[in-house]
């Protein structure tokens, strides 16, 4: 029984390694974001890389994070959601701490809740740049800490008023494939 289990585990590991080599690396994790002088917005993040992406220097990803899991949880803060597609370039990938830059684009939605506020802008495209470090904590776990800047913000007339420029992000990933 014990030998069968070990044999099975080895087969799975070899198999996943083979799949990983052919399909690339998949990571999933949580993203914690604090906007400077505004909200905490938390959510999930997915990350993918492959040898053909400049020897895994380029990572492509998707993030969904929301104030509903942050400042708006059980409070009167504005409920707002962010959907981001990301492209990350990691330098010196072999080091424990690797510098990175990341370009994000996506969609922002804030929930005004009441009909009388419907005419206030509450959606916007997102375009931001982040710079920071990736930390290879302990295989298969990675962490990332960055400072980001939203190039599109809102003034309440032409864009949502709770879309601020500066933010700090921390993500922790688990490599599941």
């Amino acid at each position: 029984m014990y030998k069968s289990f070990i044999s099975g585990l080895i087969i799975i590991l070899i198999g996943s390694n083979a799949i990983s080599q052919s399909l690339g690396d998949f990571y999933a994790g949580i993203r914690i974001q604090k906007t400077h002088n505004l909200y905490y917005e938390n959510g999930i993040t997915l990350d993918y890389t492959h040898n053909f992406l400049l020897s895994k220097k380029i990572h492509l990803g998707f993030s969904f994070f929301t104030s509903r899991l942050g400042s708006a949880y059980n409070s009167n803060a504005i409920k707002q959601d962010n959907y981001l597609v990301t492209a990350t370039c990691i330098f010196k990938n072999e080091k424990i701490i690797s510098p990175l830059i990341q370009v994000n684009t996506g969609w922002f939605y804030s929930d005004m809740e009441e009909k009388m506020f419907e005419s206030i802008p509450h959606t916007s495209p997102l375009l931001s740049l982040e710079a920071g470090f990736q930390l290879h904590l302990h295989f298969p776990v990675n962490a990332k800490a960055t400072i980001g800047y939203n190039f599109i913000t809102g003034d309440g007339i032409n864009g949502p008023g709770t879309l601020y420029p500066l933010f700090y992000e921390f993500s922790i990933y688990y490599k599941f494939l």
Partner: protein, 340 residues
């Protein structure tokens, strides 16, 4: 505000980076030390004193808010030091102006109210305002708030029974903070609170960066219309902008947790939909975050206006007939609330 701030920040950065490259490329042993000394000298040598015209600007030492010399013309507590019983029964509303403004912001309302003759208007000058740049620079948000508290307490001690409060822009969170923090220290709570274009979230999001960028720029110049000269500060020091940011951030967090008004106090908010200074989402935060004592929502009116503090038209370069109509309609609505 935005272009000037960015240009100064960008030019400073470019200059420092170029000099850094020069220092590194020169490969001399003392380059780094020299570079650091240069940066220090460069930063401290940036002009932090704005070019103030003393003859025309409120920021200078010759133009002051008239309520400083003649408080009896603006404050009911100074005008009626021994009120009659009839006066004590007459409603009085304390009018609070916004950040960097003066009593001028509520002059039109005061004149209109005087013509109607149903209630008194007491125009408070915020602390640190209406004097000069240096006094403005040193004042904290608590300093701004003190005259409102003082006037309320004086009116209460003189026996006025129907005291209400009306604020514009930053005057609104100052009133709200004063009420929810129990600074009034009386059982004679305000009968009504009214807010015109309250600021909880600023429209210019660069204000959120003032704690980082502020020390480099020193101050921000505000464009004023011709008729506003001498009634608003033209230059906003970074120390003061930091106070503003800190204060509205504190009130925003309090709203997130929820504010309950005192018993029998009502609140009505008038908010311009296209306000270029106080983000309209401020109205959403106030509506969600403030409840009457009985649990009801506060009153909210979203106004179709492009002006910040649309109840003040005097001093603006131009305004439309629709703006004037909205102003009068709002004055009448405010009067009907005060008269309840």
């Amino acid at each position: 505000m935005v272009p000037e701030l960015y240009i100064r920040y960008f030019m400073s950065s470019v200059f420092i980076i170029n000099f850094y490259n020069f220092s590194v490329m020169s490969s001399q042993k003392g380059s780094y030390i020299f570079f650091l000394i240069f940066c220090f000298v460069f930063l401290i040598s940036c002009s932090k004193q704005p070019p103030i015209d003393n003859n025309t600007m409120l920021d200078g030492d010759k133009v002051f808010d008239p309520s400083i010399a003649h408080p009896e013309k603006y404050l009911i507590s100074a005008a009626d030091t021994n009120p009659t019983e009839q006066q004590k029964e007459t409603p009085v509303v304390i009018a609070v102006h916004g950040y960097s403004a003066t009593t001028f912001e509520w002059d039109e309302f005061r004149h209109w109210a005087d013509s109607v003759g149903k209630f008194y208007v007491s125009q408070v000058l915020l602390g640190g305002h209406g004097h000069d740049y240096e006094i403005f620079k040193k004042a904290t948000w608590e300093d701004w708030q003190k005259p409102i508290i003082n006037e309320y307490r004086k009116l209460d001690s003189l026996g006025f029974k129907k005291i209400s409060l009306i604020g514009s822009s930053t005057g609104c969170p100052l009133i709200l903070e004063m009420v929810y923090s129990g600074k009034i220290k009386t059982n004679n709570y305000p009968k009504h609170i009214m807010m015109v274009d309250p600021i909880i979230i600023p429209s210019a999001k660069t204000l959120s960066l003032v704690d980082y960028v502020g020390p480099m720029v020193g101050y921000v110049k505000t464009p004023l219309d011709y008729g506003e000269q001498g009634h608003w500060y033209q230059y906003r020091p970074e120390e003061s902008l930091n106070q503003l940011l800190e204060f509205i951030d504190m009130v925003r967090k309090k709203l997130e947790n929820g504010i309950v008004l005192p018993v029998n106090t009502t609140l009505k908010v008038y908010k311009s939909l296209k306000d270029p200074s106080a983000d309209p989402v401020s109205a959403v935060l106030l509506y969600k975050g403030t409840k009457c004592h009985n649990g009801n929502h506060i009153d909210m009116e979203m106004a179709d206006s492009k002006l910040h503090v649309f109840t003040r038209l005097q001093g603006r370069n131009s305004y439309t007939a629709k703006d004037k109509e909205l102003q009068l309609k709002t004055f009448e609505d405010i009067a009907s609330i005060i008269d309840e």
